[in-house]
């Protein structure tokens, strides 16, 4: 065993040969990137801020765009809730939709369908997925694994520039005759095939969005496997990286069937094919003249083959964010880290064999139903493992109740409610009663709204100093949290009662036209709508807090006393680089990893936390001389 010379780099000791190698590598990456981007000269404004190949800026682009879309999707929901709370009442806010959708401010039923379809589409495909994967994933994964950038920076840029046109096409569909898509975010045929022109735009937009996800997911997988820092074994990944890794596989494998299905539906609409149209279809008393022979159920299979893994695309990054914040906020390693990782991988596999639990009522037959309800029960196990581990991680922790921690803590029971209420829906017998009722809406909103979106807020409050060098205001963060927490439960909890009472979803008047639904709809809908308005008001402090600090940071006002690691975190995105990180290559010297991700309050250690890239403190601190053979042996183990 050869003895190697160590030198001091910044605050740490490194082997001299490795330090030189890392430095050379970092310089090569920077040079390559600059040359690749603009032929060796300084970057133009367009290359830097518009068509950037820097994963951090692309992450910020994704983040801003996705937050704006989330706001839009949320506003559509406010209009829907106004209508549901007080059906048929004229609201001046409705006039924004135009005379064709809301004459005199009274929302038309078909416009309600448009709002419903676009709320779902925007929230999922243009809001949460781009925020969870495009923004958080892009910004943090390379930093957390000690990589200078994504493996394919131009592919990364292409991913954003497929996402944005996809979103703009969806927006443009508000202005086509007949309005936007109105067949739900699921676009079930035959309704979607015979719908107005907006559906064609929806499909084209989806093709762009799916392409964007595919480009991104390939990039994440290669980056995580190939560009992780030396010493960063899979079991040393921060949990967030695992979550993104599995999510990328889900995106890569689940989205292509929907892309194919979207193209087939596009053909049905514009080229006269009948992939999804059955023979002898009669619409409004008139037989259609299409070729026929297609099968509407085919769409449902293709769609849910995507959309069930998609549910985990929505939730896994959220779990990753919450895990990071909980470990940091409790000052403890995650309890059951390994079982969480294996549960995540198992969840990823299982998510491909549960899709038909969305289709129990299509008459698939009891054998198939039995299969899918069994797999659905099985998939709940890894979710419970992850959630339980997060709960147990709190035990005995010295919890710091910061704003991100509040959101992360709220995620746990909220996702718990969302997950557990899903079990009855996964059982064919119970689903007969609950299918297509408000119970389903309550269930999946608990998963994605106070679940995923709260995790996204937690992530924004937590990593905002990383991207900007400024902390968001804590007081207004708490105001944002508490009002949001109360109001969001006020919206979604009554939905379980409505659903159990048999109130169908997608009714433009919330059920007032049905004798069995009228009473509970009248009792609960106005309250839920008031809570929705409360939730809107609660976002005002966040929006001001976010933009004030973002603009101030853009103008160069940094929080001087903040330091680069304000949360005293162990993971490399905080500990191994500045906040914000270096524009090129992220790190002054590419870090090397010596330990697991959450070494907080390690027994026997003097330091309160030991970053992943810090060499083992038990080693005799080298002073530039030769390292004792024992220490080398320890390290190589």
């Amino acid at each position: 065993m050869a003895l190697r010379r160590q030198i001091r780099v910044g605050s740490q000791w490194m082997y001299a040969d490795e330090a030189h190698k890392a430095l050379r590598e970092a310089m090569r990456v920077m040079k390559d990137e600059e040359q690749g981007a603009h032929g060796g000269h300084h970057q133009s404004w367009i290359r830097r801020y518009v068509f950037s190949t820097d994963h951090k800026w692309i992450g910020i682009q994704y983040g801003f765009t996705a937050l704006l879309f989330l706001m839009l999707g949320f506003c559509l929901m406010i209009l829907m809730r106004l209508q549901l709370g007080w059906p048929g009442t004229a609201f001046s806010a409705m006039k924004l939709l135009g005379e064709s959708r809301a004459p005199g401010g009274v929302l038309l039923p078909e416009a309600y369908n448009q709002l419903g379809a676009m709320h779902g589409t925007i929230m999922i495909f243009l809001g949460i997925v781009p925020l969870a994967v495009g923004a958080f994933g892009n910004y943090l994964v390379p930093l957390q694994i000690g990589a200078p950038d994504m493996a394919f920076p131009k592919l990364n840029m292409a991913s954003y520039w497929c996402y944005l046109p996809g979103g703009l096409i969806m927006l443009a569909s508000f202005f086509v005759p007949g309005g936007t898509a109105q067949s739900g975010w699921t676009s079930y045929p035959p309704l979607s095939v015979i719908a107005s022109a907006g559906q064609t735009w929806w499909l084209i937009g989806m093709v762009f969005l799916i392409t964007s996800s595919l480009l991104g997911s390939v990039n994440f997988i290669v980056t995580i496997i190939q560009l992780r820092a030396k010493g960063l074994s899979y079991m040393r990944f921060p949990f967030f990286v695992h979550a993104q890794f599995v999510t990328s596989f889900l995106l890569l494998l689940a989205f292509p069937p929907l892309e194919a299905a979207a193209v087939l539906q596009l053909m049905d609409r514009v080229a006269g094919t009948s992939f999804f149209l059955p023979s002898g279809l009669v619409v409004s008393g008139q037989a259609l003249t299409n070729a026929g022979g297609g099968n509407p159920l085919l769409w449902q299979h293709l769609f849910w083959f995507l959309a069930h893994p998609e549910v985990y695309v929505l939730i896994l990054p959220a779990m990753g964010i919450v895990a990071e914040i909980i470990a940091n906020g409790t000052r403890k390693p995650l309890w059951g880290y390994k079982s969480m990782v294996f549960a995540t991988v198992f969840l990823g596999f299982m998510s491909f064999v549960v899709w038909a639990h969305h289709m129990f009522l299509t008459g698939m037959g009891t054998t198939i139903s039995a299969f899918f309800q069994t797999t659905t029960m099985i998939i709940s196990i890894p979710s419970v493992i992850i959630l339980s581990s997060l709960f147990i991680s709190l035990w005995g922790g010295a919890i710091r109740f910061t704003t991100p921690m509040l959101f992360a803590l709220a995620f746990l029971p909220m996702f718990g409610i969302g997950g557990l209420t899903g079990l009855p829906l996964g059982l064919a017998a119970a689903d007969i009663h609950l299918h297509d009722t408000y119970y389903v809406i309550g269930h999946f909103h608990y998963v994605v709204a106070p679940g995923t979106i709260f995790a996204m807020f937690a992530g924004i409050y937590y990593w905002f100093p990383k991207a900007t060098g400024r902390k968001l205001n804590d007081f207004w963060g708490r105001v944002h949290f508490w009002i949001s927490f109360v109001c969001i439960n006020g919206i979604f909890f009554p939905m379980f009662a409505q659903g159990l009472a048999g109130v169908s979803r997608r009714l433009y008047d919330g059920g007032m036209q049905y004798a069995h639904a009228k009473q509970i709809a009248a009792q609960t809908n106005p309250f839920m709508s008031i809570c929705a308005i409360g939730l809107l008001v609660a976002q005002v402090p966040f929006i001001i807090n976010f933009f004030y600090n973002a603009i101030a940071a853009a103008m160069g006002h940094r929080d001087e006393g903040l330091g680069s690691n304000p949360w005293e975190s162990t993971t490399m995105e905080w500990a191994a680089t500045t906040s914000p990180p270096l524009a090129h290559g992220n790190f002054e010297v590419l870090p090397e990893v010596y330990r697991g991700p959450y070494e907080y309050n390690v027994p026997g250690e003097a330091a309160a936390f030991i970053p992943q890239h810090m060499p083992d403190a038990t080693e005799p601190a080298p002073r530039g001389g030769l390292l004792p053979a024992t220490a080398v042996a320890m390290r190589e183990n």
Binding site: G88, V106, L108
Partner: protein
């Protein structure tokens, strides 16, 4: 910049923005008001016109030689019994016919064997006939369409009214013009539509909420048409002298044609008979 400064700047800019937008809104409100007024006046005018479904629009300049075509549509044989409409699916609709249940309107035969709702029109008249601006009203009342059969001219406004306190949706199913399908959730709602192509064979207009609701309408390139009333009579006024083919169309019994020649200022009577 401190947070306070930022917030006050934000308020100031919001204020400026809202003032700017407020002005715009006022202006658009005025426009809206004018529109509403216009819509109202046309609605009233149209409701009077709707009372006399046989009255053809009279926007075209009337020649001094104009002839008048009148006629009677008879039904031969035993009139089929029209079924009562089951409206129990919508309690509101049922409540509107509490005294006597509404019946189907496929074949409406008078006491003397007169056949109503027959659409009579001149088939082969050439010329350019401007559409009147007076709208034709299609009323939804008691969960039935009034009138059951009618027509508009190309470009003439069609006002669709919901006089019921329940949701109706108007699903027009033309073959030449664009289809439309529009909901009217609130009582008193009016929407105006125009058709830009002639479609002289009547097409169906139905309500997808209430399956029994249907009516028929045609889009005419000229004003020479009428619908037979409950007493079987129809009148086509202001017809230029000439030789024409007159068509009588019934939703269930198909159509019949007759040749007719009318001289200047002549008034001619026709008779159609549909067999059951």
């Amino acid at each position: 910049m401190t947070m306070k400064k930022f917030v006050s700047l934000l308020f100031a800019s919001t204020l400026v923005f809202s003032i700017a937008c407020g002005k715009g809104k006022e202006a658009s409100k005025e426009d809206q008001g004018e529109d509403d007024q216009e819509a109202q006046t046309t609605t009233t005018a149209a409701s009077t016109a709707a009372g006399t479904p046989t009255a053809a629009p009279t926007a075209a300049p009337v020649s001094a030689d104009a002839a008048t075509l009148t006629g009677l549509v008879k039904f031969e044989g035993a009139a089929p019994k029209m079924n009562n409409i089951q409206m129990s699916a919508d309690p509101y609709c049922q409540s509107q016919h509490a005294s006597a249940p509404a019946t189907d309107e496929d074949v409406v035969v008078g006491a003397g064997g007169e056949l109503a709702n027959v659409f009579v029109y001149i088939k082969d008249i050439k010329g350019n006939f401007p559409a009147p601006s007076t709208p034709v009203v299609l009323d939804q009342k008691g969960c039935q369409y009034h009138p059951h059969v009618h027509a508009v001219m190309v470009g003439q406004p069609l006002q669709i009214k919901n006089d019921d306190a329940t949701l109706h949706n108007v699903h027009a199913m033309p073959n030449v013009n664009s289809q439309f399908n529009e909901g009217q959730p609130v009582q008193g709602m009016v929407s105006t539509r125009k058709f830009d192509k002639a479609e002289i064979t009547p097409f169906k207009v139905k309500c997808d909420v209430h399956g029994w609701m249907k009516s028929y309408m045609a889009v005419m390139p000229h004003p020479f048409y009428a619908v037979s009333e409950t007493n079987g009579t129809f009148t086509i006024p202001n017809l230029p002298p000439g030789q024409y083919t007159v068509v009588a169309w019934h939703e269930k019994y198909g159509q019949q044609e007759q040749q007719v020649t009318v001289g200047a200022k002549e008034s001619k009577a026709l008779s159609f008979t549909f067999k059951g």
